[in-house]
């Protein structure tokens, strides 16, 4: 066998796994999205009616846009909370720093379902949050404000995806040479100027990456809305899930998934472009 052929064989072996487990399933649901269902049977009869139904019906499109808006809120909220935490950890030194970092990413090692139930318990009528707010006299009695609505989905997703935001922000802060901070101080900048003009721009790629993680994870999450969303916390993930699980309309579910995938790829592409435009 020639060296050329050997290289191709090696490439084929390496490529087999992702093709088999990633590309083929995606191709399969893309193809399914052009089929239609009649009497509970999927008919291989290529047409665009699923896409027409999605874009032509405000119930679906509205839910989809609402979900995008929800995900954007999750991103902004988790960055607003995660950036200061990452910054705080970064400013520590030695063992304290890595102990704190470990604590911050610890939730990643816990079961997603356990975290959901814990949050549901905390946000509920007799939950920790209500008891605290009543305890400090902020509320007269327990409130339904925090559970089984869109707000609950937002809070829960933010809490669950926070470690995914903290970690890349911390890593991008970690990559800033300390010498740049010395140089900034040397040139007369105070702590705020150094943060605004040096630290923040240089940690932006990591912040964008963290935001993308949160966005994409939130976009595909259908369990969280199911668990804490009640009737108003309806997201496109739940719609897709119901098309597959309840309505048995796989082609329509595939079509919505395809739109979701396209939007996710577009957002990732935009984020990657924005991050790469920073010269670091």
């Amino acid at each position: 066998m020639t060296g050329h052929a050997k290289r191709w064989l090696l490439f084929a072996v390496v490529a087999a796994l992702p093709v088999l487990f990633i590309l083929l399933p995606i191709a399969s649901f893309l193809i399914t999205s052009f089929f239609r269902v009649e009497g509970g049977v999927i008919l291989a009869d290529p047409n665009l009616s699923n896409y027409g139904a999605f874009f032509g019906n405000w119930t679906y499109l509205g839910t989809f846009l609402g979900t995008l808006w929800l995900c954007l809120q999750v991103v902004l909220l988790s960055i607003a909370l995660g950036y200061p935490v990452a910054w705080f950890i970064w400013r520590r030194s030695g063992t304290v720093r890595y102990a704190l970092l470990l604590l911050a990413v610890m939730p990643l090692f816990m079961s997603y379902i356990v975290k959901l139930y814990t949050l549901r318990a905390m946000l509920g009528l007799n939950g920790l949050l209500n008891q605290m707010l009543v305890g400090i006299g902020f509320l007269d009695g327990p409130s339904q404000f925090f559970l089984f609505n869109q707000r609950a989905v937002l809070i829960t997703m933010t809490v669950i995806y926070l470690p995914f935001v903290i970690l890349p922000i911390f890593l991008s802060l970690e990559r800033i040479p300390r010498g740049l901070l010395s140089a900034s101080a040397d040139l007369g900048a105070g702590a705020f100027d150094t943060f605004r003009r040096i630290v923040l721009p240089l940690s932006l790629p990591g912040t964008i990456a963290g935001g993308l993680f949160a966005f994409v994870l939130a976009l595909g999450d259908f369990v969280t809305p199911q668990m804490v969303g009640g009737t108003t916390g309806f997201t496109i993930g739940r719609v897709i899930w119901s098309q597959f699980g309840l309505a048995y309309n796989w082609p329509f579910g595939s079509a919505i998934s395809a739109v979701l995938l396209a939007v996710a790829l577009l957002i990732i592409g935009l984020g990657g472009y924005a991050a790469s435009r920073r010269r670091v």
Partner: protein, 351 residues
Amino acid sequence: MALELVGIRKNYDRLEVLPPLDLSIVDGEFLTLLGPSGSGKTTVLRIIGGFARPSGGQLMFDETDITDLPANRRPFNTVFQDYALFPHMTVRDNVGYGPLVQRRDPARSARLVSETLAIVGLAAMEQRYPSQLSGGQRQRVALARAIVCEPKVILLDEPLAALDASLRRQMQLFLKDIQRQIKTTFVFVTHDQEEAITMSDRIAVMNGGRIEQLGSPRDLYFQPKTKFVATFFGDNNIVEGVLAPGAGEVDTPLGRLPIDRRGMPAIEGRCIVAVRPERMRIGGENGAAIAGQVAEVVFSGPMTRILVAPAAAPELRLDVRLSSDAGQPPPQVGERVTVVFDPSDAVVVPG
């Protein structure tokens, strides 16, 4: 007197890296802190710049105590060893950073930035990013970024270490030229003695946290006061010996060598005799003579280096430099010769 270090010292926990040190830096001079790594030279620079707190002592600037002033409020600027240019800013924004964060008048600052970029020869590159520049150009940006702030003192931490030899020589002359133009005090840290000699008005030779000797390059080269300075600065012929009180001769393994005690500190007992290679001759009269055999002849352009094994101690080598165009051909390897030097060219320091 511009900048004064009074009993400045530095400990890391129990470890003393800098015993109490006094140093006066004159307004407008080019002062070099020269020493091997671990000699404390960078620590001194970091303390002056405000990046390290001294464990004791005072830092005075124009009769004001600035020991506790943070780095961003000192009228000093630093050229860092790795340049520390801001990667997300253009050359122009890097240079304009100081005036910007110091809230200086924008119109005047813009003019000053342009002038400074012209001085360092980077006017055409002001829209480039640091990653698009060569090492020498980055060096110039770092320098421009410091001088545009019109500091009273510029601190340079081995700024030429990362450059190749020819570029380094070019930058040495360039730095010296800039310093003459802007008449600012430069405090320069290096471990390269040739660099120190080329650029400095005064050199402080540091070793183990102490200043071994402070003086002009000429003083340090021809009048070293310690063995460390005599060996650190350029090539030297060094031989250990014993000096009797008041005597005009030193007992060495090479025999009794006459010395000239005029202008020399009172030394007795164990000592070191040092003679520069270019102050030694092959043959001739008048002076101290050492018989030996030529061990090696090395032609190195303008000078020819002749290594002589003395007859009294054949394991030693005397280093003699002769001008290559002296008229007569250099001695051959194996030839018996007499190495001669003038006693007034011999430096004696305590051993």
